[in-house]
Amino acid sequence: MLDYITSYLKSDTTPGQAGNLLWALVYIMLIFLGLSVAVIAMNWLERKILAHMQVRLGPMRVGPHGLLQPIADALKLLIKEDIMPAEADPVVFWMAPIIVVITAFTVFIVVPFGPTHAVTDMNIGVLFMLGVSSLSVLGIVMAGWASNSHYPLMGALRSSAQMVSYEIAMGLAVVSAVLMTSLNKTGTGTLSMIGIVQAQQEQQVWFVFKFFPLGLIAFGIFAIAMVAETNRAPFDLPEAESELTAGFHTEYSGFRWSLFFLAEYSAMIAVSSIAVTLWLGGWMRPFPTWLSGETWDLVFSLIPGLTFILLAAIAFLGVIRMPKHQYFRVQTAGLAGFGAVLGLIGLILFVPPVRDRIQDIFWFSAKVALSMYMYIWYRGTFPRYRFDQLMKVGWKVLLPLGIGVLILTAVAGVWF
């Protein structure tokens, strides 16, 4: 038994490759936990960052600086009444949020947080991710149809039409990136996610900078398509309140709505992970060849700890600026405690054994976090697309551009 546990630690592969079920389950549990924390953090971050972009403060009351707001939201959603519309189809109504959540979470089996830190490394990893994302459209269609009401039906049809159109542009951009993996000595590319990052490591360039500007355009196409794929602003007509009264999830309340919400944020993180793996170098630290050597490695390995110390410093700044009134005692203490926890995590990340292991996961998470920030930035900045403009962009702009980038990448790959 102990052998079974430690035999995986000695092997140099993912649990799926090593055939170790226990460690695969451990990784899956860790991914679940990480995703839950990430979704909760995203909720708070989105409201605060949007607020600050709109020159207001956002939630400030529930905890110090609104830090407990997501928990309050989750509690509220859990205790809300569960309504099902009168003529709704109960089986389909019940299954729709479950399908959306399952497809959003299943994608994370192949997401590589490090060279061996994935649940498994399928050799058709990219194909698997594209396929499972395309299954989420079915959940949305089911939700809209089962609600037996015209707003959800219109929202579901529009949303699924949009998702299907932008899946094609996504696929073409992904194929251009996979094409770039084949420019190695043996001439064979790979569809496995870990293999793609390793190809970037071998060719010593992030694919976003390869064959400039082709990699950049391919990344741009994928970035636009992934925003449309997850129904986020500026492509959120199907679920915008002023347009369709929340679209396909109008008739869902309480826990079922929170499942849709969870699935939306998980899908955002999933497609951002694909973008980071395919173009932004996955778990590689910035400038691996330009600034290489022992000292630069040490400097870059200190950055995770420094980030958390910086966050702790910001928290303590907030503590100092809290009003000095006796009603704010608990909030001040809470914020100071939060800052202390962040500082403690930062100090732990300075310890050398942890420092070496946390590198890959930190850089991957940092890039995904940057992508999440871009999502929130788009939402705060761009006006909404009208539906026909949306479809026009998907079919008449992104699709020809994607085909052009694919052809030019192939030509460039053969020539250079």
């Binding site: 050799n123 058709i124 194909l127 396929g131 499972v132 269609v141 039906l153 049809l157």
Partner: protein, 169 residues
């Protein structure tokens, strides 16, 4: 990695596929039929994975379950009239149809049982790692002409579907 629990997975996946296939042809509500068909397609993708065909499994999930079934659901929503669910679901010659189909199935099973000796008991070593590459080499090598014809076929199908569904040509 050695395959694990093959027998269990085969029986589970084939039971799932066949049972949801039965659901497809017996449900009154076409949306339930479509959902059962999606489960059939996913079960079949699992069977393809067991047959060491990961690329075909991926294509099945993306195209069939994620594309064609979305198309079916769209059209069902467009033509779904409540009246059709209250009508008689099976036509008048259903007994003859079932008997004929079962006879056909019986012929199949008899042929398979008699000819087991004809199937060589080997399994070609198809390393899973390079399945996509080998399929690609064959697709763009031996079957290049069929590939081009298939793309023309898809173009014709797109034009046909658009013309068919337009209100005024």
């Amino acid at each position: 990695m050695a395959p694990v629990a093959t027998t269990f997975f085969f029986y589970f996946l084939s039971a799932l596929t066949v049972l949801t296939g039965v659901l497809v042809i017996t449900r009154k509500n076409p949306v339930h039929s479509a959902l059962a068909l999606i489960m059939t397609l996913l079960g079949q993708a699992g069977l393809y994975l067991m047959l060491y065909a990961p690329f075909v499994a991926g294509v099945q999930v993306i195209l069939y379950a994620g594309g064609i079934m979305v198309l079916f659901l769209f059209v069902i929503m467009l033509v779904n009239i409540e009246r059709s669910q209250k009508e008689e679901q099976f036509n008048q010659q259903w007994i003859v149809g079932i008997v004929a189909a079962l006879a056909l199935g019986g012929v199949f099973v008899w042929v398979f049982a008699r000819s087991t000796a004809l199937f060589p008991n080997r399994a070609i070593s198809m390393p899973e790692q390079s399945n996509t590459q080998q399929v690609a080499v064959m697709l763009y090598g031996n079957y290049m002409f069929a590939f081009e014809i298939a793309s023309l076929l898809l173009l014709v199908a797109i034009i046909g579907a658009v013309v068919m569904a337009k209100k005024r040509i």
